[in-house]
Symmetry: C2
Subunit: 406 residues, 2 copies
């Protein structure tokens, strides 16, 4: 039996476009991966009647309703009293939540207000879901064989509550289908190119196994989802898929390209330095999101001006004058100098134009060296500034992956 | 009279989280800025009955319904025949659209398939809205005094159709209210703290002017939205609001804190260097998203290891040994050395622990110097690694703003 879910997000800020709804996408992915089908998503404003009508309507055709938002301390939040009435309960003070709220403000040395203490009031007909990162508790209601979650809208808090207890409650309450996933991560080719490569493979898949393309900037993840199929069977198809995309495959589990590179460098006791010009620190930002980054990343010289390239990295004035700062020669000199100064095993540099003008297209030169062998590449950047920066970083990581694997 | 709208997005990829819905946020912002209130957003899958039921329900309580997605050439798209039946029309070939589709494929030297030619079939009861960037035409239906748009889901195409003709159709059809906005940006205080400060101000607002809190990490934007009110009247309240939050206000237009800092530095012909340890390049990443960043940002020394702090920045071993690398002394030395090496007007450093363990909480030391005066601050980081990094950057920018304004 299919388990259906509806996600209801509450808040005027979603309707007027102040906030992009990333919660629903995350919940959709997570529920889907557990075999729950998200049938519908609805966003409504801070209007009691709208919330009530939506909840009533969606409970008719869904087994699970997840409400996010509308639980904050400001006056316009109306969700909690509404839920209390809807499920026929009374708001009572929860001592454990109150102690948590008090400790929360004490730790941050911030004054606590009445509206904050009021967050400890919860309907007596719900189960409190612990919110480690915030003051608004999650709430779980159960009615007529259906589960209704009410969660704070802050993504970090919502995710933590669902991960630490919410999904477990769903799995406890319903008989879940047996869903298995296999993910193959690729970099360097577009979705439609890969789709052509995999046309026969897709046709050969049994109906219990579906292939999804999850495209990112310069990267595509391929996800096989199997319903009620043995692990052996899924592995057989995953191995075949991996074989078909071998030249562009960087991982056989769902990880980022920088994580795959980090793992490889760490396993091989290699260190790296960056010399970023046009990517402006974005590459080391990506690496330092990884726990334990200091084991691998020694330093990054973000040399944004020509003077910085000369004075800090020691790129020669001759190279800059003869070839300009956006050239193969400049990129190679930047990488070589970054490696020499930092004493790392290898170094990567980027230098480019993020914006095109009447004189030049936007493009990037990327160089990598380990002191013995080097590689360089020039890539066009066809988008606007910010997206071009992300794309340049993706090109750099792809080149680095191939350099390491050679 | 309030004009209400509902946005319906169609596609399984939205429900299972493969695609984050940015279209709705954009439409919400644009409609809101024109005085159309988005009452609701609904995302449904590629299921005819669901789409039909949602459309029927939403037409009851909205003046405008905008449908995006479900118009592509693939077999699972069912929206066009559905709309044709719903509004009682027949699918006919549109010569102008067919010529456009043919030219589209010719220009790209890509083979054209029957499914592509079928895109020229449109209901005879709609007005075709020209799609400059793609092959699926936009469609506008008009029924019982209501407007119904059906648009492709590709953001670039959807935006172009609405910008070049869609919004104009709405403004032609309805008598639009006069909507004005004023935004005041603040940093350094939380939403509930500000809400208390502004309690009386909020009460004093006429019902035509609404105040919205838009919280970000360490920052809150305050937006006044005025309906059918003179600019003079809105300015009066905006000025009062600005006055009330003066100590934490960094801008009176809707810009980011790094943009405000960039503008100030540029206007005063000042340059900056960073020495980032725990923020790992995130600060210079934020700055280099701004066009013209090289006018202001000279360099960033991402010195992630102790050796890099010594060898590249020249932080003394004595400081690191006596005070550790996460100390006021280390942060101040990092900032001073970054300024000296890069020759910038001022420099900012960050050093901290992004993750807590049994021995230490997670916190950051931030230092700023202009060579004459310096400032330092220690801030707790109460979240998980990635969010702590962003919060540390927000603290750093806030400190920098205050340093510049002193």
């Amino acid at each position: 039996m299919q388990i259906n879910a509806c996600i209801i997000t509450i808040g005027d800020e979603l309707l007027i476009g102040q906030t992009i709804d990333t919660n629903s996408a995350w919940l959709g992915t997570e529920l889907n991966s557990r075999g729950v089908w998200v049938r519908k998503r609805v966003a409504v404003g801070d209007v009691r009647k709208e919330i009530e009508d939506t909840l009533t309507a969606e409970l008719l055709s869904n087994d699970i309703v997840i409400i996010t938002g509308g639980l904050g301390p400001t006056a316009d939040d109306i969700t909690k009293p509404l839920l209390c009435d809807f499920f026929g309960g009374t708001l009572i003070n929860n001592d454990k939540v109150e102690a948590h709220v008090r400790a929360f403000f004490e730790k941050r040395k911030r004054p606590m207000l009445d509206v904050n203490i009021a967050q400890a009031m919860v309907p007596d007909v719900c189960e409190v879901l612990w919110n480690q990162y915030g003051t608004a508790p999650g709430m779980l209601f159960c009615k007529n064989g259906k589960l209704i979650f009410a969660l704070p809208g802050v993504p970090l808090e919502m995710k933590e509550i669902m991960s630490s207890s919410g999904f477990a409650e769903i799995e406890k309450y319903f008989t879940m289908p047996n869903v298995r996933h296999a993910t193959i991560c690729t970099a360097g080719k577009g979705e439609s190119f890969i789709a052509v490569m995999l046309r026969d493979f897709e046709k050969s898949l049994p109906k219990e196994i579906k292939l999804a393309y999850l495209p990112g900037l310069g990267q595509v993840k391929l996800r096989l989802t199997a319903m009620d199929v043995t692990q052996e069977m899924l592995t057989k198809y995953a191995t075949e898929l991996q074989h078909l995309v071998a030249p562009i495959c960087f991982a056989t589990s769902d990880i980022s390209l920088q994580q795959a590179i980090f793992n490889y460098l760490k396993d091989n006791q290699l260190t790296i330095a960056f010399a970023e010009s046009c990517t402006g620190g974005y590459l080391s930002h990506l690496f330092t999101d990884i726990s334990g980054a200091s084991k691998v990343l020694i330093s990054n010289f973000v040399t944004y001006t020509n003077e910085a390239k000369q004075n800090i990295l020691g790129v020669s004035k001759v190279i800059l004058d003869e070839h300009t700062e956006v050239s193969e020669e400049a990129s190679l000199s930047m990488a070589t100098q970054a490696k020499n100064i930092s004493g790392s095993s290898l170094a990567l540099s980027t230098t480019g134009y993020l914006e095109s003008n009447e004189n030049t297209d936007s493009f990037v030169w990327i160089a990598i060296t380990d002191g013995i062998k080097s590689t360089t590449i020039k890539q066009l950047l066809p988008y606007a500034r910010v997206k071009n920066k992300e794309l340049a970083a993706s090109f750099a990581l792809t080149l680095l992956w191939h350099f390491l694997k050679k």
